[in-house]
């Protein structure tokens, strides 16, 4: 039986052979295997093929915290989900249509996420007694296929000896059995590529580059890849191929990009656009390390990367570099932010530009290193001693990490302040097609270094009485720009501007140590006012309220953009009204946010935490923000969220809301197209 | 900058300051003690222990004894920077202007 997909746009036509070609508007595939099985690579290759083909797509990698959890066990399962479509999509999808399971543990760990009717392609090779035991299967589920008590009865199961066929196919290369079997992920990729009509060339080129130095391994991988494709072509097992047409995206050149890569590029771009050398001080931590790795490759842009002895040293070096005239950056995840807090306070006090990038993961403590979460918002906002306001910027999708980084740098440099950028594990590793911007269109950032004294001393003023020029003859490091309240940034090497800064409270203007009560009050308020002044530089918040009749506003921040958008589409498809807005700036909030919130009867705040933005909105605007909170280490599910929105719409409008198939009810349970 | 020993030390020479000075830059002359201005590190340890309040920070020397800044310095014109009073002995001499001064009233009371 072929997998049969439910969806609004499925159309069946025979291909040139006798096979049916079925038109689909979108498909969600999840590749799952042991962490040593190369599932991330397989998913990544499939994604590249799909993006070159022109589909819109969103990916969700999911890997174990341990590099190699015991082989064959549930904790060792690694997966990669890709959602691709012929229209613009927002999430990696709630539930996979197709599961590729390389061993019993992969099947067991993922089968619960599948909707009825989903297809499962299983590598039978590893369904041995020992592996079944490790996965916790008392009976081999594959032995029960078709039985009355078949646990997989709801699904279309295809059993294929992927490993066996791979080993057979690559015999000629004389590899050890273990090395030969390694190529099974390429066999699986070949099969899926055939099934969905993906172009093979990107993968061929990729393999040729990757294994340039080992011809045998290259040969084996290429052969396995082709063998997988040919198997699809010749076997009777699969009688349908699928076609998902390219998506109509805005014009331009695209590439597929992960959040960490986009963020790294954004930091390089910020350096180029400000003319400042980028200096990264960082300590490795999941899921932020890839930014350190990436930036380390780009020294040619004048980027210096220092792998410090700990998180504190990382930010310390970045602060030092900023003092010396670089764009200081530090990258980390939540536990690292905790260690850096005192130093962030120093940057607040010394008013130096600095980027603090927090790729959030599940917490507290070590928590869930490889899973996503948004629970560092209040840490970013308040996690320091004293009144220490820090601007917060959050990207909403993997590709958006690029412009979020540039924006964070704009704020940091213009306002001489540390800025927190809150990415998360999902954005970091997830990917999407990214419309490549033109470098010339990126904002220019002017560091505007101080070059001359800015204050006339009493001596100079007195001299002026006797014909002196009364020109500034000293440098006051805390004499502010009246518009931005930013202080001058004078870097060492500038003659006549020698000055001292530090963590002790300083007198407004001259910047000398001051313990004066009134001055401290003034400085606390001034530092706060400077951050609040950033709001003046922000564009009006965009609200998506197509009908203009919505009574419910859904507001989010960060990576929940996709699921919230997808959920709103569902609600609208079902015939109801809902408005959506998403915050890029969490501190300060956009100036018009208060007015916008007032315009709705109910405000829903979906977050992957216990209600941190809700708290901030409530505190700031006295609005009855209602939280929708899941902290499962995974992105929010659109269908579930849609139900929650629907319920609130019902309450707000005094109507009965039934989303039907646009919510959790079958047969749909898929991300839906926007209403044009 | 330096600390300066002024008139009230003449014929008193209590020496409490010598014990306090961390860099040993207070030298004993025949009639008074002198601070070597280049060796003095301005730490102020000597000032509060002087029983006759003879010691002042250079900027705070009272006008009527202002010349003592010069007198302390000139005492070392020939001696230079001896590098520590413990190993020096200048008790046989004074600045000529000091030597010429009349004995202080009740000096040894």
């Amino acid at each position: 039986m072929p997998p049969s997909f439910v969806g609004p746009a499925s159309l069946e036509t025979p291909d040139h052979g006798s096979r049916l070609v079925k038109q689909l508007d979108r498909v969600i595939i999840r590749f799952a295997g042991d962490s040593g099985d190369g599932m991330q690579l397989t998913g990544d290759r499939f994604t590249q093929e799909s993006s070159v083909f022109g589909n819109d797509l969103v990916t969700l990698p999911n890997f174990p915290a341990e590099i190699r959890a015991p082989q064959g066990t549930l904790p060792g399962v690694s997966s990669f989900q890709v959602h691709f479509a012929d229209h613009d999509i927002l999430t990696a999808g709630d539930r996979p249509d197709v599961l590729v399971a390389m061993n019993p543990a992969a099947l067991k760990a993922n089968v619960g996420d599948l909707p009825k009717g989903a297809a499962i392609i299983v590598d039978t090779h590893d369904f041995t007694k020992r592996n079944l035991d490790k996965a916790g299967y008392a009976v081999n589920p594959l032995d029960l296929l078709g039985d009355a008590n078949d646990p997989l009865g709801d699904f279309q199961v295809h059993t294929v000896d992927l490993t066996g066929m791979t080993v057979e196919a690559v015999k000629e290369y004389g590899l050890s059995r273990k090395d030969a079997a390694r190529a099974k992920n390429m066999f699986a990729l070949g099969l899926l590529s055939w099934m969905y009509g993906r172009p093979t060339e990107p993968t061929t080129t990729f393999l040729e580059n990757k294994f340039k130095k080992s011809p045998d391994i290259l040969g084996a991988n290429l052969t396995a890849f082709k063998a997988g494709w040919n198997f699809g072509e010749t076997t009777e097992t699969f009688v349908v191929r699928y076609e998902i047409k390219p998506a109509k995206l805005p014009e331009g050149t695209y590439r597929n990009i992960t959040g960490n890569l986009a963020l790294s590029y954004g930091l390089i771009a910020a350096g180029v656009r400000s003319g400042l050398p980028v200096f990264l001080g960082s300590y490795p931590i999941t899921p932020a390390s890839d930014i350190l790795h990436e930036l380390s490759k780009h020294k040619s842009f004048g980027v210096t990367t220092l792998q410090a002895e700990d998180e504190i040293a990382g930010i310390g070096a970045a602060i030092g570099a900023s003092f010396a005239g670089s764009l200081g950056v530090t990258t980390t995840s939540g536990p690292g932010v905790a260690l850096k807090s005192e130093a962030v306070g120093l940057a607040v006090m010394t008013e130096l530009p600095l980027l603090v990038i927090d790729v959030q993961r599940g917490g507290p403590s070590t928590g869930l290193p490889t899973k996503t979460e948004q629970a560092d918002l209040l840490q970013a906002m308040y996690g320091r001693n004293g009144e220490a306001p820090v601007p917060i910027v959050a990207p909403q999708s993997p590709g958006d990490c690029f412009s979020a980084a540039v924006e964070a740098a704009r704020i940091a440099i213009t306002y001489r302040t540390p800025v927190m950028l809150l990415s998360d594990g999902y954005l970091a590793n997830g990917s999407e097609p990214w419309l490549i911007p033109s470098v010339d269109d990126l904002p220019e950032i002017d560091p505007a270094f101080a070059t001359a004294p800015n204050h006339a001393s009493a001596k100079a003023l007195a001299a002026a009485e006797n014909g002196g020029d009364g020109e500034p003859d000293e440098f006051w490091p805390y004499l502010r720009d009246p518009e931005t309240l930013a202080r001058p940034w004078a870097i060492p090497g500038t003659a006549g501007l020698e000055h001292r800064i530090g963590g002790l409270e300083k007198g407004e203007g001259h910047g000398n140590i001051s313990y004066d009560p009134a001055n401290h009050d003034l400085m606390v308020r001034t530092r706060q006012a400077k951050i609040e002044a950033i709001a003046k530089s922000l564009p009006p918040l965009e609200v998506d309220d197509a009908s203009g009749q919505a009574k419910v506003l859904v507001i989010g921040w960060g990576s929940t953009y996709g699921p919230i958008g997808a959920a709103c589409r569902r609600v609208r498809r079902a015939g109801y009204h809902v408005a959506q807005t998403h915050l890029r700036h969490l501190n300060p909030f956009p100036a018009d946010l208060g007015e916008i919130l007032k315009g709705y009867d109910k405000v829903l705040v979906p977050e992957m935490n216990l209600g941190q933005l809700s708290k901030m909105l409530r505190a700031e605007f006295l609005v009855d923000a209602i939280g929708y909170n899941h902290v499962r280490g995974l992105p929010l599910k659109a269908a579930e969220l849609a139900e929650a929105i629907g319920q609130l719409v019902g309450e707000a409008e005094g109507i009965n809301v039934d989303l039907g198939e646009h919510g959790l009810n079958p047969p749909a349970d898929h991300e839906e197209m926007p209403i044009q | 900058m330096t600390y300066v020993i002024s008139a009230s030390c003449i014929d008193v020479k209590d020496r409490a300051c010598v014990d306090e000075c961390p860099v040993d830059c207070i030298y004993e002359g025949a009639r008074m003690l002198y601070i070597q201005p280049d060796e003095c590190v301005d730490c102020g340890a000597c000032e509060p222990v002087c029983p006759v309040e003879a010691i002042f920070f250079e900027d705070d020397v009272p006008e009527e004894t202002a010349r003592f800044t010069r007198l302390n310095a000139e005492f070392f014109d020939d001696l230079g920077s001896p590098g520590g009073a413990a190993n020096s002995n200048f008790a046989d001499r004074d600045h000529p202007e000091i030597a010429a001064m009349p004995a202080q009233n009740g000096a040894h009371a």
Partner: protein, 369 residues
Amino acid sequence: MTTIDLGTPSLRSGTESVPAADGPQTGKEFTSDQEVRWCPGCGDYAVLKAVQSFLPGLGLRRENIVFVSGIGCSSRFPYYLDTYGMHSIHGRAPSIATGIATAREDLSVWVVTGDGDALSIGGNHLIHALRRNVNMTILLFNNRIYGLTKGQYSPTSEVGKVTKSTPMGSLDHPFNPVSLALGAEGSFVARTIDSDRKHLTAVLEAAAAHRGTSFVEIYQNCPIFNDNAFDAIKDSETKEHAIIPLVHGEPITFGTRDETTGLGDKALARSAGGGVEVVDTAAMPVEDLLVHDAHNEDPSTAFAISRLTDSGYLNRSPIGIFRQVQRPTYDDLARAQVNDAKTKATQAEGNDTDRLTQLLNAGDTWNVG
């Protein structure tokens, strides 16, 4: 894992890349307008004065000198110097200085820290700065006490020290900062005394000239919370016996000087166990006395000498430059990598903007519309 031979960069002086001053400078120019606020008699004054009078002699532009400190009494230091400066947070000055020194070749970078700042809260940064050999000079003011927080024992306090936090005597064994620095493979490790301006200045000169992390422990008296801690090495009566002077190329002797030989009555010699021991000079043939070799690549002897420092009340301590060897500096190597990559790429692929465009458009791309 592969390793790459980075080549040996030309060894240069510590200040070679810092622009020279236009003309002679005075100590006064290096003195800021801030009122110095240490307790009367504090050893910090002596060090400040020595540094203020030493800096003009360096002949560097004032604006190219940066002092960075942590937190503690001694860490107020930068405020009193009219150079660029940062009074940072407790223990972190070496990391901040690492950023400054790596970002800018043209700066002379100095760290001022205390025994608590450098060895307690900032111990990690200290050893890593030494390991990396970043071009900067670290002045560790060791008063063997926490001054600023009013007198708790510190990581260099002797065992049994009675302080507010240890009314029955402290329990933990102290660090010997010089041993620690040598253990971290510091390329320049010295010890000097706050009140000995001549020695202090000579050590500062050597430290500034050294390219790499120069570590200078300065015994500094705290007259309020740990007064007289260094009396034995300061008192003119005892110091001959308490100070083991280290002079490169000379036999290490101390104690009562023999007028004719100039040697002290005690000396250092190799011990049977492979270490170093104190012997009676007279009982040894002169050629068997240990001659100080600060340039020895192997730090073992320097370490053995450092162990002759009393860990309890300080009745004896080697003073001078323990070790001074050449080793590539982290900041030179880091800049070389960046400059190299930048030069090559600019020649091959054009300016930053062009190359950024290429970077963004690299890999698998596709066009829509």
